[in-house]
Amino acid sequence: MSYVELHARSAFSFLEGASVPEELIAAGLALEMPAMALLDRDGVYGAPRFHLSAKKNGIKAHIGAEISVQDVGSVPVLVKTRQGYQNLCRLISLMKLRVPKHAKPGECVVTSEELAAHAPGLVCLTGGFDGPIAKAINNAQRAVEWLIEVFGKKNVYAELQRHFDRDEEARNHLVIELARRNRLPLLATNGVCHAIPARREVSDVFTCIRNHVRLETAGRLLAQNSERYLKSSDTMRGLFADLPEAIANTAELSSRLKFTLEDLGYEFPKYPVPAGETMTSFLRKRTEEGARWRYTGLHGAPTYERALPQIERELKLIEKLKLEGYFLIVWDIVKFCREQGILVQGRGSAANSAVCYSLGITAVDPIGMELLFERFLSEERGEWPDIDLDLPSGEKREKAIQYVYTRYGKLGAAMTANVITYRGRSAAREVGKALDFDEETLGRLAGLVHTWEWKDPKDSSERQFRNAGLDLQNPRIRKFFELYQMVQDLPRHLGQHSGGMVICQGQLDSIVPLEPAAMPGRVVVQWDKEDCADLGLIKVDLLGLGMLAVVEESLNLIRDCYHDDVDLAHLPQNDRGVYEALQNADTIGMFQVESRAQMSCLPRLRPANFYDIVVQVAIIRPGPIVGNMVHPYLKRRQGREPVTYAHPLLEPVLSRTLGVPLFQEQLLKMAMLCANFSGGEAEELRRAFGFKRSEARMKAIELKLRQGLQDNGITGKTQDDIVLAITSFALYGFPESHAASFALIAYASAWLKCNYLAAFTAAILNNQPMGFYQPFTIIKDAQRHGLKILPIDITCSDWLCTLEEADDAETRRHGDTETRRRVDVGIRSGENTVSPRPRVSLSPRHAELALRLGLRYVRGLSRQSGHAIVRERAVRPFAGIDDLRNRVPELRKDELRKLAGVGALNFIQTHVANQVNRRDALWQVERVTRSPGELYRALLEQDGNSPLQQMTLTERVDADFRGTGLTIGKHPVAYHRGELKKLKALRAADIRMLRDGTFVRVAGWVIVRQRPGTAKGFMFLSLEDETGVSNIIVTPQLFDQYRLELVGHPFLLIEGALQNQDNVVSVKASHVQPLSLTIAAAPSHDFH
């Protein structure tokens, strides 16, 4: 007579349960439990993980939930049939969707009528301490009668729990009496909250977090003992020795619960096709049309004949797997975007397909590029296709998302969830609070959590704690440490995935419960992306990509200002300027190739064609870096190393990448060729390494991989190399199709920068924050390339940055040159900046257009006020600051001050035009913002002359940085060049000419700090001065020595040996000195 636990909560009963579903299953397996039920509170959040883990371990997973019912309590229900599951999902969706996401406890409930309406297919238990009997202790008979009425006599079980608690036992006596009186079967459960007794501590900490109390003050809110763990059959039989039927009934009920998540009943929605068409025929027609357009040579390579067999093969597979609807729906979204003028580009496992290319979903031709087919649909893998649609981030993406909601209904589409787990600082702070640490200690404890990606192996917990002045011998600190580790990765709450959407035409709420997201108008499912994929729910990722927004805006600006019509799909191939810029690592602002690591690789790889960009995008990834692939590839490319293969079998797979695996597909193919993996097994390998769920799973796959290699006679170092390559890659490698899609955007961004610098720069500035660099660096880079940047000016700046005819820009409004001379030097366009060597080949059009900074760059100016200024100016120009104030009442006093401080009011027309400078404007602003009253109006000064001194040069730069975060005048470091010369510091442009090994000093403003996880503790700094950027390498030892200076100071002087290899120039620092420059600077962009 085996016992089945039918009432267990996991950590997905947020802040109640203390074990993840996998832990519960593992404990069940150890206790040889044949089945188990998961009943989380008001949700089935953990059901997929519970189901999958149970399936793998041969345990039957029953699904259920504890439903909060108004005035009744928490009713535990178990799913008996698919109808029951659908009812449960609908019931939970009903409960969740009518209250906001952060509803107060007690607000998120169903009524007893709603429960009754959704009862078919469900089995009800009478519950524990918060169940319907416990809540109606004085009227328990009535409560039982109601349950019988709702669920039917056969579907109500009198639940008994024994946790060695007097009150509970008294309640059990009542339940037994009620069961006998109403002829209900008894059922023993343990109301499990954690897999093992030790986890009770986590459960208590969660209780504290939930109730906003400390352990010391939580009192009887905490558990009375640690008995709510998963108990063995023997233990439970011993506990219920007097009621053996209560144990026997668990197996009986388990056998009645036929439903599992295998039987989810999900079908992908059908795409509505015109009369007389089927989805199959409709898809075929659309694909054929597209193929002709793509492959007949008019708009691509003339490979129609070659493409047809693959298209046919793919279509057959799609039809076999009944996925026509999916491809049509994605096609439909793409069509909508095209119609709305929204740039869209598909990526993902299905992007290798010629069908997607023909349908216009992707822009990468898999036949032309000879992409590997392995990651497209596989019947064997039973895995659904995955297509990511990249959209311009912001409003346009939201428009596409809302289109999907509108098209498939509120209950037909939802975002996938993102389960927020306890990690790092959040875990430290919340556990620390529960243990009643003071704020200072909490800060120190949270500070212990690594902020940099790189984790120093010497940084043992003991050392970290000691360094923070915390004694691990102290029992409280020790307990904190234990708890901190225990709560890691436990779910905290549900968030929203950035773009994953699940679609199920009107019936999604019967597949998975839906919840409101924090963002208005959004609905999320209770499962995360991986769970949806595991259960076969097809998702479409609608991801926001900042660079697409930039490209889109650039195209608009080019059309409006240059009057050129650029078609993104038909950009000139092999533009020399683009490849020169790439080869010279002149890539600030370009998509995917602008990072410091990319820049140091570009002059070595020297991209000369599109496929080189694909490789370039893929090579600077943790996978190739950890797998030691970068240097072999570069050496082979430069001809310094022969092209060899780890095994002759690999030659066809790796020949394109010179024998070095660079793409995920190659890894899968390697596993298939060398270790006899099937396509499905290879995909399983990728996924095992793809998300960090199970060490054991990864070990098992690695073992299988080694065995396969062994069978093919691949042993020793070759085997190790192949295993390292595969395992390090699977997690962080890029699929070739992804790299190709990104390379397209990278090429487009590079082409735009090289040919339409003004438009591209304006678009980048308008879409901040994005990319690797701060706006200041982007502006300085553009200025070095000859772009004229005009200051923020209330008389002509829009909210966003715009383009103007450079020569007319100022004379148009301020006719005489005298006025122009009055413009503060700090904001004058880069005429004083050094322009060492613009490497991008400039089009003559650059000279004609200048970039006007937009009002959005005035810090503290609200969007509403900015737009109001533009609106009023369109009516007629402002006659003065008084006029501005009167006509734009939205402008607050501080906003006016800010506008004056950055010089935006300098050109506003006043009757004393010759005197206007920033201080004049500030003097005026204070007057207009203070009403003197009617009586004194006539007495007040009429003269606009200000008695204030004009700003000095330093003051202006300082005001620029404080007011806008950038300056278009001289670089802050340039003001100190004299002092720096005395310190023998060279400029970034100077060191490029020096030989490798020369000892140099460079000084500049730190614009980027990085300590990547793959760099073994090395830190990389980018120092900018008026001539460009110097790259600094800091060894771990030096980092320890100068930690404070390196992390905290904006300006640094670095000494060290110059490394100049293959035109990649960097300084290996041997000494660091902070510089006290008197000019403010924008903060650096630090990558933690």
Binding site: R200, G219, R220, Q224, N225, R897, R919, R930, E941
Partner: protein
Amino acid sequence: MFACIHAPGLSPDLSLREFAYSFSPIIEETRRDTVAIDVDGCELLFGSAYELASEVAVRAKQSRAHGGLETAVNVAVAANPDAAIHAATRLQGITFVSTGEELTCLGEFPVDHLDYSLVNIEKKVAGEILETLKLWGIRTFADLASLPAAGVSERLGQEGLKLQQLAAGKTERQLRVKQPEPVFANSIELEHALSELEPLSFIFARLLHQLCAALDAYALATNELSIVMQLVDQTTHERKLSLPHPMRDHKVFLKLLLLDTEMHPPQTAVRAISMACEPVKPRVLQNGLFVPLAPAPDKLELTLARLAKLVGEENIGSPVLLDTHRPDAFSVKRFTLTELKRRKEKNAKCEMRDSNLTLGFRMFRPPLRAIVEANQGWPTQVSAWSKQRSVYGKVVNVAGPWRTTGDWWRDDRWARDEWDVTIESGSKQSLYRIYRELNSKNWFVEGNYD
């Protein structure tokens, strides 16, 4: 004319105000280290204002025994107190600010150092004005003073004007002279150290009498007395008497203090005693005609103190159950007279509880250590005894265990299993509660059910 003394290195136990009183009775204590003096009329005593400033500087350097401050001070003399204060706080030594020439002296001071509190401007308002001045590039007092007054008034309002006048050293005001605060503290240094309570009681009585007289004079009372005794071994013995209600009866205080000293005697002989009390408003109470008389608070306090002396402070008061699962966890709360209403509520609750027909439980304090024979963890035979009682017999009926564990984050975590057992001893059966401490594995009889 006004003089300002600024003593940046002033020792915390010295008072600049007291020092300044030796020059003039009209004193404003701007800050603890800054005072302004009205020197008009001091000519006869100290000569000219400059001579007075010199005298101040000389005396300040003298030792405290000679009325000095044992530190160098800055002294500034000006036609208005604010100019003197600014000059003294920024300039070292003696400064004489000529009337009408204030800016010559103050002009280069940074505008951030304007002491806006002198002209009663709030910090927030002053902050905003200073921020505007910073934007305007106004760095010094002279810069601010040079702005056109109308322009400043238009833009910064009256506050701006006040600040401008302050910067120009042109303000006009009287000193804010303050009455000294009454002190409710007293101390005495003994010629011979005392180690007996009786002679000490005379000293206590004297000090308390003085304290209560001071309280009486201001119609105040106290609910906390602090006593610090300096001992001959250079240590101190500190006591604090907290009273439930404000009082000022020195006799009651003396009795309480003597009882407390008996309970907590100093380790060695006493050589000095200081007493201080926190003055509060006296308790005003009017009893209702039909309210039963409660004991007088002072008498009750004395009785409690006497009882505390007999049984120990931790054993007197009202028991309060703690919010925890820890069995029998309670704390003893200081006994106070409760309001009648609350007592009524409490009675109502008791009545409700009584109506539930719960079994009465008689707790053994301390619990009886027991020897328990058990079969597979279930008790079968219990024997326990102490001087007062013994429990012995066969277990004929058992319920349990009831398990509680907790405070796992502390050193004194607990874990125990309780059992309700019927013990048969001879022909008599009795119901007991026994428990086993799971950490020590020891058994106890906790009590019996009535």
